[in-house]
Symmetry: C2
Subunit: 506 residues, 2 copies
């Protein structure tokens, strides 16, 4: 059931592509903590595989240190202030900006200081790997350090920081895993600056062509591409962005829920079963510019009036199909108070946990949008034109920019999360199964390796907002479950390998 054993050849591939930083062959755990007295004395560290359930339960992440490090690194790209406390600000750390470079540099330094080897691939994904007793692909904890332009301190950031805290905890406890474990920071997960979300895990998974990703232009009026910005900030690696060059044994992701369910039901840990599907579109409406004072309503081809109808109608159709529809970007031309807009471009994001329903919504939107823009008498226009003057027709075109299918995570990986969550005393059994409303890098990771996610509560369900907030206690619980799931996976691999070697195990 588990696909944990890479061929020796693929592991060699991983070795060959280690170019970005010189691979240190020093023993691990050489850091300066006082407890490491016999630094030059060969010694056996604790093997994760030998840890008892009780020992595992007692090996705790340091929640205080996790939060301190999280807030410290949020100095890179600090956003809007919303409260009085020092940390009461949001984040504005768009992918591949100067502040993203700063936090990347921190990530590389921090994981190297913990004895990890770091690799940067052609999409700027950073893989920090700590050696195990055996060679093989690492079991990864992963998420992203980029944020929305008006985002918070937890979305993505918590997942990466909890991964680093996992590494620190293993180092502190002298625990040696059977296989390597690692932390990955994926580039431009948000899709906020370069308009495909999870684009770099998508390239890694072989789903999105490298060239398409490299040529993505930043939204707005800038002309920078992902490639030019990767180059500019020094994170354009030469390692292929590919699951073949950098295979993973498994991918676990801790994330805030970004919705209200855990809080509302007083649960602490969500065991994510899968992710709802979504499709992103660019909608172009073309009318005709005209003077606002001399063109009567009947003689206008008003692209913004039409866009307003389309946005309202997409919302109405989403409600009918028990789905979601959102327009987050809208630009218009020419943009003058007394000129009827001649063209409008807007984004449309539709989502559903059911693929067939999503397809039906997609089809219906295409039909109705065309009918509304044309100004026909179809049902779609009844609401839009009620009691108003109908103008001249506009043209509308809809381009699909990206899609993410409805997804079910690997059953064994999900089971590892649940088992761990149930084992953590402080969680107290407050564990529920959930479906993720948002896309995550785990979507693409799951294409190539067993993948699962851990959710922790979001206050008021608020996310993509400076006020996004999760308590320090919940962050620590989530980090504990994340580390537990990674170790659980490592132990299972070892057991399977021993089984596979015919050596037997209990």
């Amino acid at each position: 059931m588990l696909s944990v054993s890479p061929s020796p050849r693929s592991f060699l591939a991983v070795r060959h592509i280690c170019h970005h930083h010189v691979r240190t062959r020093r023993p691990l755990l050489l850091l300066s903590a006082p407890r490491r007295a016999f630094i030059n004395t060969p010694r056996r560290n604790l093997r994760a595989i030998d840890l008892s359930e009780k020992h595992l339960a007692n090996m705790k992440v340091n929640g205080g240190r996790l939060m301190e490090e999280l807030h410290r690194t949020c100095a890179f790209g600090t956003g809007q202030r919303w409260g009085e406390a020092t940390t009461d600000t949001g984040m504005s750390r768009l992918s591949l900006t100067d502040s993203d470079k700063q936090v990347r540099d921190w990530f590389v330094d921090a994981t190297r200081a913990l004895g990890c080897h770091t690799t940067v691939d052609q999409m700027g994904n950073i893989f920090a790997v700590r050696r195990g007793r055996r060679d093989g692909p690492a079991t990864f904890a992963g998420s992203h350090l980029d944020t929305q332009p008006a985002g918070g301190r937890y979305d993505g950031i918590l997942g990466v920081l909890a991964g680093v805290e996992m590494l620190r905890t293993l180092v502190d406890n002298d625990v040696e895993t059977e296989y390597p474990v690692g932390v990955v920071n994926w580039t431009n997960e948000e899709g906020a600056r370069f308009p495909i979300s999870m684009v770099s895990s998508g390239v890694w998974a072989g789903v999105i062509p490298l060239e398409r990703a490299h040529n993505l232009q930043e939204v707005g009026r800038g002309t920078a591409t992902m490639k030019s910005e990767l180059e500019r900030i020094g994170y354009l690696g030469t390692t292929p962005a590919s699951h073949e060059a950098m295979p993973m044994a498994a991918h676990f992701e801790l994330h805030i829920e970004q919705g209200p369910k855990l809080e509302a039901t007083e649960q602490k840990i969500g065991v994510v079963q899968g992710v709802q599907g979504y499709r992103w579109f660019t909608v172009d409406v073309r009318g005709r510019e005209s003077h606002s004072g001399t063109t009567d309503l009947a003689n206008r081809a008003d692209a913004l009036l039409t866009a307003s109808k389309l946005i309202l109608h997409s919302h109405r159709l989403a409600a009918r199909h028990d789905a979601l529809a959102t327009t987050g970007i809208l630009t218009l031309s020419p943009g003058s108070v007394n000129t009827v807009p001649g063209s409008v471009r807007f984004s449309l994001d539709i989502r559903s946990p059911d693929e067939a329903r999503l397809q039906l919504l997609d089809d219906t939107i295409r039909q109705h949008f065309a009918a509304i823009a044309r100004g026909g008498d179809e049902e779609a226009n009844v609401f839009a034109d009620a009691d108003a003057v109908r103008g001249l027709p506009c043209d509308v075109s809809i381009t699909e920019d990206s899609r993410s299918q409805v997804l079910k995570f690997d059953a064994a990986a999900v089971a590892a999360v649940r088992k761990t969550a149930e084992r953590v005393d402080a969680v107290g059994g407050r564990v529920i199964d959930m479906t993720s409303g948002a896309g995550h890098d785990s979507v693409y990771a799951s294409v190539r390796c067993p993948t699962a996610m851990v959710f922790v509560p979001s206050r008021d369900g608020i996310s993509h907002n400076p006020r996004e907030w999760t308590s320090a206690e919940d962050c620590a619980l989530g980090a504990q479950v994340l580390m537990g799931a990674v170790l659980e996976w490592d132990r299972s691999r070892a057991a399977a390998a021993i089984g596979g070697d015919g050596a037997g195990s209990n």
Copy 2:
């Protein structure tokens, strides 16, 4: 009936503020046309006041020269191409940009070459004045050289260029007016770059405070102000921008109709009786940013969805009140595909030829906008929410940025236009009375002097669009009527003055 005689003191004021270019005291008409053989010989030119009706009718503007000059100066700020011919492009000459500076420099050079004295005031308004036989405020032809970002070659431009053609025709025919005549180029008439339209004639009229105008910031993300841009391009004059410093005997403006009526009724000249009123607002909608995948429809305070409802509803209310409503600018924040917008700002322009109806529309919009944003069950929400999920309330605020009252032009000035239009053979009596849908600098000019406007047809009624087009024949007819009205006014002034001097006249 006519207020044509300034006090000697006010004329002195005009003389004193002539600072920008050295006032040349050379005789007029010194240019190099071959007909001016006796250049140093004192001679009597033709007095406009002595011209017969027939002579006046025969003195024709040069339509070919007018169009050649118009298209030549449209090289400054050429816009979007829409056809194959060299001149088949629109204009994009926003006020006080480099291209606006270029056309201003041309205007100053061209009018000085015709013997005019030019004065630049504190708003960058340029007054080019040709001496008459007597001193006194000039009778002006005026309009503007700035355009919309995606504008055409005629709006405003035709009016100024026809003024220059008038000066050339007077020079060519050695006609000397009784009082000075002039051409004025008003700054930022469009309000497209600095968001108060006709702002500089407004300052001249004493309606808009100079400081407010100077501090106007350009729309979009720039930080330039009118004052900083006037300074930058060298058109910040020291002459007060005031009807006291630069009085006008009358203001005549030739303009394209910008609507379909003349063309549809096969008329050639519109004698403009007045201008419909308008009000410009900035509408701010504040909701809450949230994640598009994890926030269900009921838990969203979606500022763009609310703005869409408001825009649609403004259109519906305008239809009910036989008025116009237009949103030409819309910006939102934070602007990410998968974030529900937390705030939206949009412009709203409402117009009506009836002041009471305009006020009622204004009041109704304020009431209904608040109700829609609140999400109440009022009638205003019936259409907006039909068959959809109602989200959380948003806040809405409405700020009035400028207004222009419903206006009736001076009866004598209007009569001068009609008399002239009826006299031009090529017009063939195709003259109708009209109301202007758009605001023009003539609105503010009319506050301080007798004012009237001449309209010529706009193909398909299209304006504020690169395809805006008026035939060369119609441009020439308009210029002919413009010159005729200015001369008619000059002759009336002279007759009134003679009457006033007790000298009598026929």
